[in-house]
């Protein structure tokens, strides 16, 4: 049995190698389809996980911001940028006095033109409670600010890497010189591209005294969030949003995008199926005489079907393997494409080419290709040998 299976595969490989042009065309079509399916599935899984990771990295479950659209504010905070809505510092004392609040942190977020054309550098003023809400944050080197008003900065990992800055170096911000006090470990979130300042220093440099962009709250019991939100709703000039609502809203938008991506991937898969179907038809038409001879020599119908089908299996497997390599190689390009075309994209990798994603893509494409090749294989196995040989000339 193993010997026959080995022979069947050996035949298929030999035939694929012998008919090079046809095989290469079919393999390329399958490869493109596999790569697109892998990127689409990888995007689906990666975006959600990246969003979870970014929201989790914020460290709070409830966000208090100035009046405006709460979801817009939340996504801006996730993405990073200047939000022209502020709350007064004294509101903070009222908010944190609520009984449901376990931990809280205040921040002021601003962005200024960065070193690269069109790029902006994000600055966030933070208070001493920042680290308590972010247990995952660790220093790669250096340490926390020496004082609440110290002219110091803590750099996200990517900022330090990109600008080649180290602890003790100086950076300039709106005419103010700041000393690098620490560099954070890589987090895979927006924080990697952020420069953190003491809150008071940020309020001073950006001329926003006693102003905050937001207050992050961690509650003792998330089940009590509704009561807190209702109560804070009565406070003028602020709005409250749960981060889980933001996630749902972002994922709702993503679902529409995902449908578009899936439709695009489906078109590519359909093209690949047509390619494999066409290649199988072409191969079997070309080999019609050969298959007729095999039938004449007594080849059982099942064996003939396997021989014909196995060639499609080899083509689709080869195509899928190439497609996986293409997907891995083009992951960065796919990420850039998504980032360029979506208004909100969370930090960190958003197209995941995990083994599960790759294997699912391969299984899907190969299964569909085999289904497409089954009919031509069955027809070639069922034709009388004299008819096949006569037809093939």
């Amino acid at each position: 049995m193993t010997g026959r299976l080995g022979t069947t595969f050996a035949w298929a490989f030999a035939s694929v190698a012998f008919h090079r042009a046809r095989s290469v065309a079919a393999v390329l079509l399958v490869a493109v389809a596999t790569a697109l399916v892998a990127c689409t599935l990888g995007f689906q899984a990666g975006f959600e996980r990246a969003l979870d990771r970014n929201v989790e990295a914020l460290g709070y479950q409830v966000l208090v911001t100035g009046k405006g659209c709460p979801h817009e504010a939340a996504t801006l905070i996730l993405r990073g940028g200047s939000i022209p809505m502020y709350i007064q510092d004294d509101v903070y004392r009222h908010v944190v006095a609520q009984p449901e609040v376990a931990e809280s942190t205040r921040f002021l977020m601003q962005s200024v033109p960065g070193e690269l054309p069109g790029a902006r550098q994000l600055y966030v003023g933070i208070d001493d409670d920042f680290l308590r809400l972010k247990p995952g944050v660790a220093f790669q080197r250096g340490e926390w600010f020496s004082a609440e008003t110290a002219g110091e900065a803590i750099l996200g990992f990517n900022v330090a890497e990109f600008r080649r800055l180290n602890v003790g170096d100086s950076i300039e911000l709106l005419g103010r010189e700041l000393t690098v006090r620490g560099v954070l470990d890589k987090l895979g979130t927006q924080d990697d591209g952020t420069v953190f300042l003491p809150l008071a220093v940020a309020q001073d440099v950006f001329e926003k005294p006693d102003r905050l962009t937001g207050i992050g709250l961690r509650l003792d019991d998330l089940g009590e969030a509704a009561g807190l939100v209702d109560r804070l709703y009565d406070v003028p000039s602020i709005q409250v949003v749960r981060m889980s609502q933001v996630q749902s809203a972002v994922l709702g938008v993503l679902r529409g995008m995902r449908a578009l991506f899936l439709a695009f991937a489906a078109v590519c898969v359909a093209l690949a199926l047509l390619g494999v179907f066409g290649a199988a038809l072409l191969a079997l038409q070309e080999r019609r005489g050969e298959l007729g001879v095999l039938r004449a020599l007594g080849c059982p119908g099942g064996t003939l079907f396997r021989l014909a089908w196995c060639e499609s299996l080899v083509l689709s497997l080869l195509g899928a393997v190439v497609g996986i390599l293409v997907a891995i190689a083009l992951r960065g390009a796919a990420e850039s494409f998504v980032r360029a075309n979506l208004s909100f994209v969370p930090g960190g990798p958003i197209v995941e080419t995990t083994p599960a994603v790759l294997l699912t893509s391969v299984a899907l494409v190969v299964a569909l290709c085999l289904a497409a090749a089954a009919l031509p294989a069955w027809r070639s196995a069922a034709a009388p040998p004299a008819t096949s040989m006569r037809g093939a000339g």
């Binding site: 026959r4 022979t7 035949w11 030999a14 035939s15 190698a17 012998f18 005489g289 050969e290 001879v293 095999l294 039938r295 004449a296 020599l297 007594g298 080849c299 059982p300 119908g301 064996t303 069922a382 009388p384 040998p385 004299a386 008819t387 040989m389």
Partner: protein, 227 residues
């Protein structure tokens, strides 16, 4: 009981809207160990007759038996089984599998049978191609390809070999070599041979010749090699 027998054999083909009779009322019996030559001009039905006798095609009417078993009613699976256990084939245009070596081509019937002694190398040596066993068909001459086909027809030790104009596309020297080979194998192994040829003069060693014209057997069965 004859090894292969046909009675009232008719085969029609459709050509456009017309029905063309390729064979009409043919009766024939092939005995074990016989060397039979079927002759006739192009289009006389020689190839069709061999196809029906070998179960490669089904008659429109009439009956064909192999070792007493009716082929016209046998399933395609049973026909394939009969071919792989009891019949060998040599075709006019060799019909070798292009991506397989000469040795792999010769082994094909053994592969389908799933058992049997691997005599591929022995037969390749017998047909004078031991040194060419690892070559693919496009690396062989036409005469060599046909000798590979002869070896393939014999490798599973069949009861009968059908050869449809096996020398039609060969030059004179190769033609003579192939006929000599088939004739020797018939004598050496007591092989039953049914060959189709344009002209009986080309087939040395055939003990009996039947002639077809326009799908009918036009001459009674004759013994000898007098054409």
């Amino acid at each position: 009981m004859s090894l292969v027998a046909a009675t009232g054999l008719r085969k029609d083909y459709r050509q456009g809207g017309d029905v063309v009779a390729a064979l009409r009322d043919v009766a024939l019996a092939v005995e074990e160990g016989e060397f039979l030559c079927v002759t006739g001009p192009s289009g006389s039905g020689k190839s069709t007759l061999l196809s029906l006798l070998a179960g490669l095609d089904r008659p429109t009417r009439g009956s064909v038996t192999f070792r007493g078993e009716a082929l016209e009613t046998a399933s395609s699976g049973r026909l394939a089984e009969l071919r792989r256990t009891g019949m060998g084939f040599v075709f006019q245009d060799f019909r070798l599998v292009r991506h397989l070596t000469a040795r792999a081509n010769v082994r094909l019937p053994l592969l389908f049978a799933g058992d049997g002694e691997d005599r591929a190398d022995e037969l390749l040596e017998r047909v004078g191609l031991a040194a060419r066993a690892g070559h693919r068909p496009h690396e062989l001459s036409r005469g060599e390809m046909q000798r590979v086909a002869v070896a393939r027809a014999l490798v599973h030790d069949p009861a009968v070999v059908f050869a449809d104009e096996p020398t039609a596309s060969l030059d004179r020297a190769n033609r003579e070599a192939v006929w000599r080979l088939l004739s020797e194998l018939h004598t050496e192994r007591g092989l039953t041979l049914v060959v189709a040829a344009h002209d009986a003069e080309q087939v040395p060693g055939a003990a009996r010749t039947v002639r077809l014209a326009d799908g009918r057997m036009v001459e009674p069965l004759r013994r000898g090699t007098d054409g």
